[in-house]
């Protein structure tokens, strides 16, 4: 793993991209990393495109700027591909991970000539199957960890179980659903 991994999230206000970036920061923190998780703030409301960021590092990172040349880009809503230049500045060593039911190559034409890896995961369907609702956050988190290797998978899965157990202490049925969503996404993500 690189000394520092930088990730940029694209979502829409209200969809939970910010929450997903914070969950990733949590998961990385739990494996002993130094983390940053921060959204870019403006006056936007529900539905507007929003951006959030993660830095995950072996050492404390002092930089407090936004991320312009990320190693990975996560797109929580496929429709953003047509509204935002999501792969801008994206390292071609890295990957873009899109919530989509399409095959990776089907998206290449919409990515402004990006030549690196494209990954897709049908987070919406996985979420419906495992949680009965469209909460794409957990599957997207699984896909990012799988693709980036930023956290060792085994630690990640174990840690997320604890974290869900804590979060859903009063709704235990949610623990298993989220765990299934996580693992399913890790299995199903298509790396193109």
């Amino acid at each position: 793993m690189k000394e520092i991994v930088e990730i940029r999230w694209h979502g829409r206000g209200g969809q939970g991209a910010k929450t997903a970036s914070l969950l990733l920061a949590d998961a990385a923190f739990n494996t002993g990393r130094y983390v940053q998780g921060f959204p870019e703030y403006g006056p936007e409301r529900m539905g507007a495109p929003i951006t959030a960021y993660n830095r995950i590092s072996q050492e404390r990172c002092t930089v407090h700027s936004n991320i312009y040349e990320p190693d990975y880009v996560v797109v929580v809503d496929e429709t953003l591909l047509y509204a935002v230049d999501v792969t801008k500045g994206l390292s071609e060593e890295g990957a873009v991970i899109v919530n989509s039911d399409k095959k990776p190559e089907e998206l290449r034409g919409s990515l402004h000539g990006y030549r690196g890896k494209i990954c897709t995961v049908d987070a919406g369907r996985i979420s419906e199957e495992t949680l009965g609702k469209n909460f794409p956050n957990t599957p997207m988190l699984g896909a990012v960890v799988k693709v980036s290797g930023v956290i060792p998978e085994e630690n990640f899965v174990k840690d997320m179980r604890q974290s869900f157990a804590h979060k859903f202490a009063t709704k235990p049925q949610m623990i298993e659903g989220n765990m299934r969503a996580l693992v399913k996404a890790m299995q199903e993500v298509l790396i193109g």
Binding site: A25, F29, Y34, F38, P39, Y41, R60, H64
Partner: protein, 392 residues
């Protein structure tokens, strides 16, 4: 003994306040400080603190209520940003001159207009001479640590002044980062209880807030000025004690790679971290560069800055606040004054930067160092008041 956690700056400050368990909090929502009273009122709702929370109808009333509470012998806290701090303006002076050591968590945001919710220091910089102590944080950790030290400093009998604990809106307030927390028992033992010698609810009646005639007004102001002078020593004493507890040391300023620096930056807050990354890159390329970060802006560490900077060739003073003096920002003016008596002294350049959330990158900081090198070579600052990363 520390507890490893990951928290946003606002969570860290709210958590520090929870550990301190103040008597009264009065607060009104304003972005980006809103989360602090939000988290805190949840602690209140859950019975995790003894604090009485006053959900006031404005920032003006937030500080007014804190003034009443502090005068009554309670430890009172509030939080605000930008226009909220501006609305408190008159009461900032009242709190300081009445010698009420209130604690205010200031989450720095641009002060209108046009309206903008993002970070710069124009809110608290405008209040720099209201008589409040001001501590600034680079990280969530520093925001937390400053909060734990703030009341000890403010309430010290030789100081008796209110304190602003400042951090950068969104940049640190809403960013999750690693942090090391102190155990609550240790926090409470460190911060202690507020026991003023006199209060409205004390055994003797007390009157606060007189009309002051010319025969006494200056003596009161002189006494107040002494509180600020004494605060330098108290800040350092409290920091030493804090270091013994946590291992984390603090001063009035922090110097970074200054031992042999030819070119240096002076700056405040979160961009110091970004600038440190630039210093590391340039050092790796053999450049003698460093920076000085100001932690305590009030009291102003003039001697300490002069000592840290006087052997540099060129210094960029970075104001995250547009000072409309037609001669650079407030930090620039004060650094110039601090170095006036130093010999030799460096060439000084003013940079206004990062206003209204304009992102501050490592590349930008490197560019400033490049321009400083140029200034040093030419022996004069061609254009002493510059704006960084502004289109034109």
């Amino acid at each position: 003994m520390g507890i490893r956690e990951r928290l946003s700056g606002n969570e860290a400050v709210a958590y520090a306040l929870k550990q301190i368990n103040p008597d009264v909090m009065g607060a009104f929502p304003i972005t980006p400080s809103t989360e602090i009273p939000q988290y805190f009122s949840q602690y209140v709702a859950n019975g995790e603190v003894d604090t009485a929370f006053i959900p006031v109808e404005s920032e003006h009333s937030a500080l007014s209520a804190c003034i009443g509470a502090e005068a009554a012998g309670a430890r009172a806290v509030t939080a605000t940003s930008s226009c909220g701090l501006a609305l408190m303006w008159e009461l900032l002076y009242v709190a300081a001159s009445s010698r009420l050591p209130i604690t205010l968590a200031c989450v720095n945001r641009a002060l209108s207009g046009p309206i903008n919710i993002n970070n710069d220091h124009s809110d608290s910089m405008g209040a720099r001479d209201s008589g409040w102590l001001q501590l600034y944080a680079e990280t969530n950790q520093e925001a937390y640590d400053n909060m734990l030290q703030a009341m000890r400093i403010a309430e010290h009998p030789d100081v008796q002044l209110p304190v602003m604990v400042c951090q950068d809106g969104f940049i640190t307030s809403h960013a999750i980062e690693n942090i090391e927390l102190v155990e609550t028992d240790a926090v409470r033992a460190f911060v202690g209880q507020y026991r003023p010698e006199h209060s409205l609810l004390g055994p003797e009646p007390m009157s606060v807030g007189p009309y002051d005639v010319p025969a006494y007004y200056m003596e009161h102001k002189r006494h107040q000025a002494q509180g600020m002078i004494n605060a330098k020593r108290v800040i350092l004493d409290v920091a030493r004690e804090f270091e013994r507890m946590t291992g984390r040391g603090y001063g009035l300023i922090e110097t970074y790679r200054m031992e042999d620096a030819e070119c240096a930056l002076v700056l405040i807050g979160s961009s110091a971290g970004t600038a440190k990354a630039a210093v590391e890159r340039l050092r790796a390329a053999g450049k003698r560069v460093g920076l000085v970060k100001i932690r305590a802006f009030r009291p102003f560490p003039a001697e300490e800055l002069a000592a840290a900077l006087q052997n540099c060739g060129a210094v960029a003073v970075m104001d995250k606040c547009a000072g409309f003096s037609a001669g650079g920002g407030p930090l620039f003016a004060e650094v110039c004054a601090a170095l006036y008596g130093a010999a030799p002294r460096p060439l000084l350049v003013s940079y206004t930067y990062g206003l209204g959330g304009r992102d501050v990158t490592v590349d930008s900081m490197e560019r400033v160092f490049g321009e400083l090198e140029e200034t040093l070579r030419s022996g004069a600052a061609a254009e002493p008041c510059r704006w960084l990363d502004v289109r034109g």
